[in-house]
């Protein structure tokens, strides 16, 4: 069992359910960030799809040590549980003043699992400025049913997140989150290391649930984003409620009656 202090709280999990990401600023120490720039430039050897994480990376390897950082290990366990599988990993390198912005996309293919999800760890070993073209992501887009880069027509959405972060930042993304590498307009090569994890256990109450009744859980789950259409924003709440029900095992959970209202079909005859 992980140290409960490093697991995500219910408020953080609720924020993940609403935003589709968890960001851990500067959790990787400077000496490891310096080591990472060399290791990532040389390349991380690939592992077969579906390799258990403990087999994919030895304890002394850079990646093995990255995943043992308490905040990283705690967040990973909270999201996908113990001993997830490594789907794949990839080192993203954006050359200075080179390349194009990626079209906005979701990774892999359309993935509509309602009670399970993969996460993608994104690690930034150097401070990322706006000019360096840090990852663009769209908060609250992860439950949208789209296939890969079919969203490429969307250049900018109100409230999008253009990542600017300190060195050593790790972000976990829900597999469905719309994102893309932005064009690097700086003089600095930008590195990002991504690992996709598949759960091997039911993703229910894997975090520190001591604060499950904290009122801030509701506040986080009810978050709206500037790019939501008014009407569809209500459907976003509906789908978040279903995901929170799956994650907590609470089949009656609701926000402002959104699901209860449209599920109400009494079968008893009037007396």
């Amino acid at each position: 069992m992980e140290n409960r202090d490093t697991l995500l709280s219910s408020v953080q999990m609720a924020r993940f359910v609403a935003h589709g990401s968890v960001r851990l600023d500067a959790v990787v120490p400077p000496e490891m960030n310096a080591e990472a720039l060399k290791a990532l430039a040389e390349g991380i050897p690939p592992v077969p799809y579906g390799t258990p994480v403990s087999e994919a990376y030895s304890a002394e390897s850079f990646t093995g040590r990255l995943l043992k950082i308490p905040q990283v290990a705690g967040a990973l366990r909270s999201l996908v549980g113990p001993e997830p599988l490594v789907d794949h990993h990839f080192v993203h390198i954006r050359e200075p003043h080179g390349g194009h912005a990626q079209p906005l996309h979701g990774d892999a293919i359309i993935d509509v699992r309602a009670d399970a999800f993969d996460v993608q760890l994104m690690y930034y070993p150097q401070a990322v400025t706006l000019e360096m073209g840090g990852t663009l992501s769209v908060p609250g887009s992860h439950l949208r049913r789209i296939n890969e880069s079919d969203t490429g027509r969307y250049q900018n959405l109100l409230g999008q997140n253009r990542l600017v972060c300190p060195a050593g930042t790790v972000v976990f993304l829900h597999h469905g989150l719309w994102h893309g590498g932005r064009r690097n307009d700086s003089d600095t090569t930008r590195y990002m290391f991504k690992i996709r994890f598949n759960p091997t256990v039911r993703q229910q109450r894997l975090w520190n649930t001591a604060d499950l009744d904290d009122p801030r859980v509701i506040v986080e789950l009810d978050a709206m984003f500037p790019w939501y259409e008014h009407a569809t924003g209500r459907l976003e709440r509906y789908n978040r409620i279903l995901l929170w029900r799956a994650l907590t095992g609470d089949a009656d959970f609701d926000l402002d009656h959104w699901v209860t209202r449209v599920s109400n079909r009494p079968q008893e005859a009037a007396a």
Binding site: A101, L136, E229
Partner: protein, 122 residues
């Protein structure tokens, strides 16, 4: 200036380097409701003149507050998303943005003809 090929064949316009020409600029606005005067929540631009290169994640603020504001600034609406009922059984699904409006401006370029990366006239 636009000239044509010889008189014994079909007249095919040929742009010289100093010829004025018309190019299309496209603006796509995503609105908060199906109403054209609703707030802008997303935006995309394509510039047929080649003078600018809009791309993913290049701006934080929309060019207009509403679709109507784009009209007032001279953009011409050329396409609006249809209102399509949800497929039965998928009424609560969320997917693409629903309220998409395409606008255009036709602008004159002069001095040279822009060419694509393959060398073709663009």
């Amino acid at each position: 200036m636009i000239t044509t090929t010889g008189s014994d064949s079909l007249d095919v316009p040929v742009h010289t380097d100093t010829a004025p020409a018309l190019r299309q600029q496209v603006l796509v606005l995503y609105l908060a409701t199906s109403a054209l005067d609703a707030p802008v929540i997303g935006w995309t631009r394509y510039d047929g003149t080649g003078r600018t290169s809009p791309t993913t994640g290049d701006s934080a603020e929309p060019p207009y507050a509403s679709g109507l504001d784009a009209l007032k600034d001279g953009w011409r609406l050329i396409q609006a998303a249809q209102l399509i009922p949800p497929y039965p059984g998928h009424e609560y699904d969320v997917s693409f943005l629903k309220h998409e409006f395409f606008f255009e401006q036709i602008v004159q370029v002069q001095g040279h003809v822009n060419r694509g990366s393959d060398g073709s006239a663009a």
